[in-house]
């Protein structure tokens, strides 16, 4: 495959030039959680396949997920999902042209982070309530 001809356009400075900020971290988290959730989708499809196959196999997969390592992973996926959903809502707000003022960006970033942690804990409290 032929290489793209390099045009002599200026490049914008890259990430390490800028001072690390919460909004930057939130942007990076949004991307990382998106990639992580893609891996979670493999797990979800595996669980559906197990449910469609046999009791033994379903119990085997459920057993792996119930292991503390499995639970830790699911806890991580829950947080990633909550963070990505709230981040997405933030993007919807920005899509309407609102919320770009610095203080609002900062407030939204905090709300996103605190909200994702709170929702994750809430879901897990409900989950343990369901099981009990």
């Amino acid at each position: 495959m032929s290489q793209n001809k390099v045009s002599s356009r200026p490049l914008s400075p890259h990430l390490q030039i800028y001072r690390p900020m919460l909004s930057t971290a939130m942007s990076i988290f949004h991307r990382i959680t998106g990639v992580a959730l893609s891996v979670g989708m493999i797990l979800l499809v595996w669980w559906f396949m197990a449910a469609a196959s046999s009791d033994d196999y379903f119990n085997f997969v459920n057993g792996l997920l119930a292991h503390w390592l499995g639970r830790l992973m699911l806890f991580g996926f829950t947080w990633a999902l909550m963070h990505h959903i709230l981040g997405g809502l933030r993007h919807f707000l920005w899509d309407t042209g609102r919320g770009f003022e610095l203080n609002k960006v900062e407030w939204l970033a905090r709300a996103n982070l605190i909200g994702s942690i709170a929702l994750t804990l809430l879901l897990w409290i409900i989950a343990y309530g369901v099981r009990a």
Binding site: N62, L123, V130
Partner: protein
């Protein structure tokens, strides 16, 4: 624009807006669908297989879960594409990575839909 970009018909307002638009459309669709998915998972924690299958035999459940899988996987494919385009610069590796995420997404979708249909129509 580079010569190669011209030949490929790239540049402003070709397929970029469609990508952005579908990312948003699937994001909107994902909101209620993911909430249902979370509810479904919570409702079946530790439940025996028979209970999961019985729930999926409900047409509303089967259709909503199918829509959820299609919409989420579509959104996922678009998102991973952007990540690859941002970080993989070698033309060959980029093409390979894009092929892999496209194939993987479609395989996951086929497996998920098969599993859901198997549970709703199977014995």
């Amino acid at each position: 624009m580079s010569d190669l970009g011209k030949v490929r018909g790239l540049g402003s307002a070709k397929s970029g807006t469609e990508h952005f638009w579908m990312q948003r459309v699937t994001a909107i669709a994902n909101l209620p669908l993911v909430i249902f998915l979370i509810y479904f998972i919570l409702a079946h924690l530790g439940a025996p297989r028979a209970a999961v299958v019985a729930s999926i035999k409900n047409p509303f459940c089967a259709v909503t879960l199918s829509l959820a899988m299609v919409s989420i996987l579509w959104h996922m494919r678009l998102g991973l594409q952007v990540v690859i385009e941002d970080y993989v610069h070698s033309e060959g590796r980029k093409l390979a990575a894009l092929l892999i995420i496209n194939f993987t997404t479609f395989i996951l979708g086929a497996l998920a839909l098969y599993a859901i249909l198997e549970m709703s129509f199977g014995l």
